[in-house]
């Protein structure tokens, strides 16, 4: 039987059928894998936080997290305390790392909403580290990271990641040569908050000067670098009042 595939009725029926089949298929795939994906994301968060505080399996140039199988144990071993800061209050919460920063930032647009700021306190080699999560915009999509500070507010390690920055350019924010530059940088100039800027032409490509509040930017990734600097300024600033109390 020859079908008239050009008739309007057939076209409408075909389109509806296709949408139904493809939609069901995608919904089925998404919902049956959801649990596993959420679990993967939770593990990744723990790995990222540990990475920032220097608990990782890096060799000379690689970026290696602690392996999936031990991450839960390592996380409870190194992270001694998790705080949720609301206004001037800091409350302990063992699941603070699960707070969705993106959602908090969106909710905070409502002036009546008290934003919850998670802060992770860890201890490595006798040094207490304060790990701050940050989130901002790159060129194409979201960028985020974790900044580990000591009680003098000197950066001891960072981890950055991104959703969709250009491979080979903006995506290099998660490479060692960029992240390692942040180690030792200050964020406070005396008492004023300065943040850290990914700067072009700061004439310090080896990053010897640790008190200039700058790291060397990545060539070809201007917008990503600007977004990263803005993210550090904006999100670190929210923690400064609390972190300053540590310095005294």
């Amino acid at each position: 039987m020859a079908k008239n595939t050009d008739s309007n009725l057939y076209t409408v029926l075909f389109a509806s059928g296709m949408v139904l089949i493809v939609g069901t298929l995608l919904a089925f795939v998404a919902s049956s894998l959801k649990e596993k994906i959420t679990e993967n994301k939770r593990i990744e968060k723990q790995q990222n936080i540990l990475y920032a505080m220097g608990v990782n399996e890096n060799d000379e140039t690689s970026v290696e997290f602690v392996s999936k199988s031990v991450v839960a144990a390592e996380f409870s071993k190194y992270i001694t305390k998790q705080l949720v800061i609301t206004g001037t209050e800091a409350v302990e919460d063992p699941n603070a790392y699960l707070i969705d920063i993106k959602k908090e930032a969106a909710d905070a647009k409502n002036p009546n909403y008290q934003r919850r700021l998670p802060l992770f306190i860890g201890e490595k080699d006798g040094v207490t580290l304060y790990i701050v999560p940050v989130r901002g915009k790159g060129l194409w999509d979201a960028i985020w990271g974790y900044i580990a500070l000591d009680d003098q507010l000197v950066v001891q390690g960072v981890y950055f990641d991104h959703q969709g920055e250009t491979p080979g350019l903006g995506s290099n924010i998660k490479e060692r040569f960029f992240m390692d530059d942040f180690k030792g940088e200050q964020i406070l100039d005396g008492d004023t908050f300065k943040g850290i800027t990914a700067a072009k032409g700061n004439a310090d490509p080896k990053n010897m000067n640790k008190t200039d509040f700058q790291v060397d930017a990545i060539a070809g990734a201007t917008i990503t670098g600007d977004g990263l600097s803005a993210m550090l300024k904006k999100d670190l600033k929210m923690y400064v009042p609390y972190l300053k109390t540590l310095k005294q």
């Binding site: 595939t5 050009d6 076209t11 075909f14 949408v19 493809v22 993967n40 491979p167 080979g168």
Partner: protein, 215 residues
């Protein structure tokens, strides 16, 4: 060839050189410019496109007789998008690390003109096996160019290959940098990908003059 008839084999070998999607048909240029700043990204993109195009071609070919011609482009787009999303979800659940590397490519694969081009030009008119071979051939042809461009851009732009410093250290001035060599940062920007592809087209046509168009 024992496995493939001569005609079938041509479906794979043609797009590798004489009918290459990038250098001859000039399709898929957008992604070739965007992601070839480093070799690794080029390889990942090549593999992903091989997978999606081969599978998509088979699906389109199987339903080619029942697709209403009025909405065939949308149907093709839906199938390409659905395939890519399913692959992405499965990777997220079972190979999370790999999926993170691929995430930026997902959008690029769906909009890749080679995918739509082959669905439209080949899969709609041929059987599943032939379409499968055509998909492999065209995406491999695309992949080869991507890898060549990625090789030169990463080597000349960053002095590395797959992240390994093959030319020495630019900051410590070791290797060739000791003799005053500098990385060409311009290679990392998209215009140089276009110029690199232009050079490949030039080399290819000067070797095979039958490819030159005469007006």
């Amino acid at each position: 060839m024992g496995l493939l008839s001569k005609k079938d084999a041509k479906l794979i070998t043609d797009p590798l050189a004489d009918n290459n999607p990038i250098t001859i048909q000039v399709l898929g240029i957008c992604s070739a410019l965007a992601i070839t700043a480093e070799l690794k990204a080029s390889i990942v993109m090549a593999i992903s496109v091989i997978f999606v195009l081969a599978l998509g071609n088979v699906v389109i070919s199987l339903i080619r007789n029942i697709i209403p011609s009025k909405i065939r482009i949308i149907v093709q787009l839906v199938i390409a998008a659905a395939l890519v999303i399913i692959v992405d979800q499965i990777l997220k659940a079972f190979a999370y690390e790999l999926s993170k590397t691929l995430s930026v490519f997902v959008g690029l694969i769906i909009t890749n003109c080679i995918i739509m081009g082959r669905f439209e030009a080949f899969a709609l008119a041929n059987g599943p096996w032939k379409s499968f071979l055509d998909g492999i051939g065209n995406s491999a042809g695309y992949g080869i160019i991507l890898i060549i461009v990625g090789f030169f851009r990463e080597l000349l732009g960053s002095g590395t290959l797959l992240g390994i410093k093959v030319l020495g250290d630019a900051i410590e001035k070791t290797g060739v940098y000791a003799y005053g060599y500098e990385n060409n940062g311009f290679m990392l920007l998209a215009p140089m990908a276009l110029i690199t592809i232009g050079i490949i087209i030039w080399v290819q046509r000067s070797r095979n003059t039958a490819l030159i168009e005469h007006n």
